[in-house]
Structures are given as structure tokens and as C-alpha cells.
């Protein structure tokens, strides 16, 4: 049984190299978490009092402006950050696709990166060797996979990361916003695979600024603001509250048709 439970969790980052900076006044902008000053080491309170319970079949979109804590929340849900206060429990195999490029080695080839990512996601070498052809075909990178990763464009990296993650069967899929970097043709292809994957995998959390992707992959949503969960509910309500307008108003007719056809979107009619 796949589940993620988080109870009253907070994530505070100690910033050791900012000790000498004067932080007497609490810096409170629109952007970024609160910077606490009580302790000797300045702390960025990236998330506070997060309580969330996700189960099999949940597909949650994360929305919020930059620095609201979406990426940190994804890392909390993946178990990379364990809460500094409160507690969390993650049951299931996690497959994250976060900041593309950082988790990958720039100097080694695409093939090697596929292998390493796969091993990280709990695959064996043999299993990955079987999947390499499939990934190569899906990503359309062809001979480029033999090139070092530093020669790849952002979109190509996204293709690679998505190729790996969609070729295995993760139980918990966590996607950060980067996947919007691919071109429309690939996105169509990836969308089918993601929808299919989301249907198979137990749980999806997806941070994005793109309404159409959210509408297609998610059913509910969380609005993050200044490290807190400002709102949690159905995708449409949350998006409407966040954007101040109904996201369905802007959907192009053909996207609407597709949405209606895709059961995963689980949106009534979608017209």
C-alpha cells in the first residue's frame, strides 16, 4: 500500500555562511520563505506545519509562486529532507524528477546517466539494460545518447529524465516544474505516457505553472504560499482561487476535447 503521511512537519534550513550578515530585521518579501533569526545561525523556514496524507490514486498538483515551497515540499515528500519538526512516513518506491541537470553527471554519456538513474530508482543493471532501447526510442535522442550530457539542451535532459522515469514502474512519482521545457510534439507523446504511468503508479505529486498539464495529470491541488499550505482541494477550485480566474476559461477547444477524453483528468465534462 503506497502512502505518504506528514504530520505538522516543518523544514528549516540553517544558513551557515550568512552568519555575519545583519538579519536584525525580519526580511519578509513576497518571494521566499521566512528567515528566522532567533538562533545563532540564520534559518530559512521553508515549510511550516505541513500536514498532508496522500494515498494510492491521489494525483496532486502543487501551485504557488516562486519560493513558496513547492520544490521543498516535493523533497520532503520524497524523503530527501526529513522534517526538522513534526514527522513523516513514506511507504513506497519514490521516483523523483526534480531540477533536471543537477542530479545528472554532466561529463558522462546519456546511456550512463540512464543506467545510474535507473539504479537509483531501485532497478538492477540487467533490468535497465533491457529498458535502454525503449528509452532511446521514446526520447528520440538516438546517437546522442552516447554523447556527454553537457552537450544536451534543457529539453533533451527533460526527455532523458522522463524517459527513465516513465520506463520503470514507480509507486510514487514526484515531478517538479522543469518538464515544461520540452517541445510540443514531445510533450504530446510524454503526456500519453505520463497519463498512462499516473494511472499505473500509485501516487503523483506535480508542481507546475502550466494549467493544461495540471489539468491533465492531477485531480486535486495544493496551493503553497510562504511555506504553508494555503489551500487544499479540488484542482479547479484551487486553481481558480490561486489565479483569480477559472482555468477552464482559457483552455483551447482541442485541449478541452482531449481533457474530456482523458479519464485521468477526472473533470466533469471539461467541455
Amino acid at each position: 500500500m503506497v502512502s505518504i503521511d506528514v504530520w505538522d512537519a516543518s523544514v528549516d534550513f540553517p544558513i551557515f555562511d550568512a552568519k555575519s550578515r545583519s538579519l536584525k530585521k525580519q526580511v519578509l518579501g513576497k518571494v521566499g520563505g521566512k528567515i528566522g533569526t532567533e538562533s545563532k545561525v540564520p534559518v530559512i523556514e521553508a515549510l511550516h506545519d505541513i500536514s498532508i496524507s496522500l494515498k494510492d490514486g491521489d494525483r496532486v498538483g502543487l501551485v504557488g509562486h516562486n519560493g513558496a515551497g513547492k520544490s521543498t515540499l516535493l523533497r520532503l515528500l520524497s524523503g530527501i529532507y526529513e522534517p526538522t519538526r513534526g514527522s513523516s512516513r513514506i511507504v513506497g518506491r519514490v521516483a523523483p524528477v526534480f531540477d533536471l541537470g543537477v542530479g545528472m553527471d554532466q561529463e558522462i554519456s546519456g546511456f550512463e546517466n540512464i543506467m545510474i538513474r535507473g539504479l537509483y530508482l531501485g532497478m538492477t543493471r540487467k533490468q535497465m539494460e533491457k529498458r535502454v532501447d525503449d528509452i532511446a526510442e521514446f526520447t528520440e535522442l538516438g546517437d546522442y545518447l552516447a554523447m556527454p550530457l553537457r552537450t544536451y539542451s534543457t529539453g533533451m535532459r527533460v526527455r532523458l529524465a522522463l524517459g527513465v522515469v516513465t520506463s520503470i514502474d514507480p509507486e510514487i512519482l514526484l515531478l517538479d516544474e522543469g518538464i515544461g521545457a520540452v517541445d510540443a510534439a514531445f510533450l504530446d507523446k510524454a503526456r500519453d505516457r505520463l497519463v498512462d504511468l499516473v494511472r499505473r503508479s500509485g501516487l503523483l505529486v506535480f508542481a507546475s505553472h502550466q494549467d493544461d498539464l495540471l489539468l491533465e495529470l492531477c485531480t486535486s491541488a495544493v496551493w503553497m504560499d510562504e511555506g504553508r499550505m494555503k489551500m487544499r482541494g479540488g484542482l479547479r477550485e484551487v486553481l481558480t482561487a490561486y489565479k483569480g480566474k477559472d482555468p477552464f476559461a482559457n483552455v483551447s477547444p482541442e485541449a478541452a476535447a482531449r481533457l474530456a477524453a482523458a479519464p485521468v483528468s477526472a473533470v466533469e465534462g471539461g467541455e
Binding site: D8, I80, E82, I108, R117
Partner: protein, 310 residues
């Protein structure tokens, strides 16, 4: 197909079950991390090899550079110091070569151990994995380099076969007569295993501490050269005995009080057919026990903090 619409999910509750107490600082999690890390053998062995291949990518000789640079250093130092110290080259060269090879391993574990988590920042922040994977990656990489360096030992042994195989040979003139190379050389294998076990806690402990206190790697780097000259690698304990006699003074204890001496000696002595002493094994074994207890304690308390600190 009237899918359960958005309205329904509005009522999706916060966790209903009672909050589980945080287990971030528990022995269970610390041991689970190590178990999961060891079980991920394919991952860390792949990453370790990758590191070696990566370092020598696009060079013609590739990882053979490890062997070659060790050979050149050992040969150069061997010729120079055998003359300076008045030692026969056919006994001194094997001595300094083995000492230097073991030193390279210890040095690598210490200096690269401090960088274990810092260097893997990207991976730690982007892919959830047990911390011990990075520890094993570093230790494994050092083991591979050690294996490459051992080639030099065998070459030296082949060329200078007569030197250290004679019973009663001396490393430096007037030194203690050594028993000569025999089957007890195989003791070097368990000795290396014991050192590798020690490498595990060194990398884990220094890795975590250095991630939090970034001065530690600098402290280690600045002390490492001093340690090299303090340790009987270039010189042998024969000299101490010759100059200061058997009496117990601080001068004759310079080697015995240096833990690195014991680490080197348990491998070097069997490999060059020198006198072996069980007290070296006891000390290295003691270090393994104490070190692991310390490392596990730090692991328990600070494992979950490493991803915040990198």
C-alpha cells in the same frame, strides 16, 4: 464516465491517523540506512567505477595512470632515499613501495572521505538514497585505486626478488634482521579487509562532520603532509632503534603512538616478509570498534541533517 469530480476531493482530509513520532534520530533508521546502502551494491560499485573512468576519460592510458604515477613516485623516492639512508636498494625499494601504496589508500580515504557528501551534493538533493551509498562509493573507489597500485608491488617484487626473500635481510643497514618473504604474506589479505572496515567509519564520520564544519577538510589537508613524514614510510623504525636504543622515550615512541604506523604495518609487514607483530592488529582492530561506535552514533543523530547541510 462520471468521474468523481473535483468537489469530492475538497473534503480530502489532513492525516486522520495519529501522528507517528519522528524516527529521524533512531538506531533503527541508522541501521536501515546502512543495510539499504550495502544492498544497493550495484549502485555504489557502478558509481565507484564511474569515478575512476571519469577521472581518466579522454586520457590515452586511462586508469593505468594510477599505476604509473605510483610507480614513478615509488621508484624516485626509493632511489633517492636508499642512497640518503644508506640502504640496499633491493630491500629498501619494496619497503617504500608497499608503505607508499598503503599510505595512498589511507590518504585517499581520509581526504576524499571528508568530501564524500559535499561532492555528492547534487545527487543527495535530487535523488533519495541511503547515505551509506556515498560512503561505500568512496571506499570502493579507493579499493579500486589500491588494486591498481598493487601492480607496482608485484613488478617490484619480480624485479628485486632476491632482496626480501632471503631470511635475515635488513631494510636499512644495521637494522633488525627480517624473516624474509614467505606464505605469511597472505596475511595481507585479511589485513586489507580490516583496513577497509576502518575506511568505512572514517569516511562516514569525517564525511558527516565535514559537511557541517567545512573547516575540517582544510585541517586534514594541512596536517596530511606532516603525518606522512611522521609515519615510518620513507624511514624505518630501525633508525629509531639505532639512534635511541630500546629504551622507552618519547623519541622511540614516535612511531608507536602514531596510529597510521599500525595501519601501514599490518599490510606492509607480510608483503615484504618483515617481522610481524600482533599488537598492530590489536590496535587496528580496536580502532575499527571504537571508530564504528563513534560513526554510528554520529550517523544516528545527524543522518537526517546531511541533506540540509550539503
Amino acid at each position: 464516465m462520471s468521474a468523481p469530480s473535483t468537489v469530492q476531493s475538497v473534503t480530502v482530509p489532513a492525516p486522520t491517523s495519529a501522528p507517528a513520532p519522528s524516527d529521524s534520530k533512531s538506531w533503527a533508521r541508522a541501521f536501515a540506512d546502512i543495510r539499504a546502502g550495502v544492498a544497493n551494491r550495484e549502485l555504489w560499485s557502478h558509481l565507484g567505477w564511474q569515478d575512476i573512468k571519469q577521472r581518466y576519460r579522454r586520457s590515452v592510458l586511462g586508469p593505468l595512470w594510477i599505476t604509473l604515477s605510483m610507480g614513478v613516485t615509488a621508484l624516485g623516492l626509493g632511489i633517492l632515499y636508499s642512497q640518503l639512508l644508506g640502504s640496499p636498494i633491493d630491500t629498501y625499494l619494496p619497503y617504500i613501495t608497499t608503505g607508499f601504496i598503503v599510505w595512498a589508500f589511507l590518504l585517499g580515504c581520509l581526504t576524499e572521505g571528508t568530501e564524500t557528501f559535499i561532492a555528492n551534493e547534487g545527487l543527495i538533493k535530487h535523488l533519495p538514497a541511503p547515505l551509506s551509498v556515498y560512503v561505500l562509493r568512496t571506499v570502493w573507489r579507493q579499493c579500486i585505486m589500491f588494486a591498481h597500485n598493487m601492480i607496482i608491488y608485484f613488478i617490484v617484487l619480480m624485479i628485486l626478488w632476491g632482496g626480501i626473500t632471503k631470511s635475515g635481510y635488513v631494510i636499512t643497514d644495521g637494522g633488525v634482521p627480517q624473516p624474509g618473504l614467505n606464505w605469511s604474506a597472505l596475511l595481507a589479505i585479511p589485513a586489507f579487509a580490516l583496513i577497509a572496515v576502518n575506511a568505512g567509519w572514517v569516511v562516514l564520520l569525517f564525511g558527516i562532520i565535514s559537511t557541517r564544519f567545512r573547516d575540517i577538510p582544510q585541517v586534514i589537508t594541512s596536517l596530511i603532509n606532516l603525518l606522512f613524514f611522521m609515519t615510518p614510510i620513507v624511514w624505518s623504525t630501525d633508525i629509531l632503534q639505532k639512534r635511541f636504543g630500546d629504551g622507552v622515550t618519547w623519541r622511540s615512541l614516535v612511531a608507536e603512538l602514531n596510529p597510521l604506523y599500525h595501519f601501514i604495518q599490518i599490510i606492509r609487514a607480510p608483503l615484504i616478509g618483515a617481522q610481524q607483530s600482533w599488537h598492530h592488529w590489536a590496535i587496528v582492530g580496536g580502532f575499527a570498534v571504537v571508530g564504528w561506535v563513534l560513526a554510528l552514533f554520529v550517523m544516528r543523530n545527524y543522518r537526517s541533517r546531511v541533506s540540509y547541510w550539503v
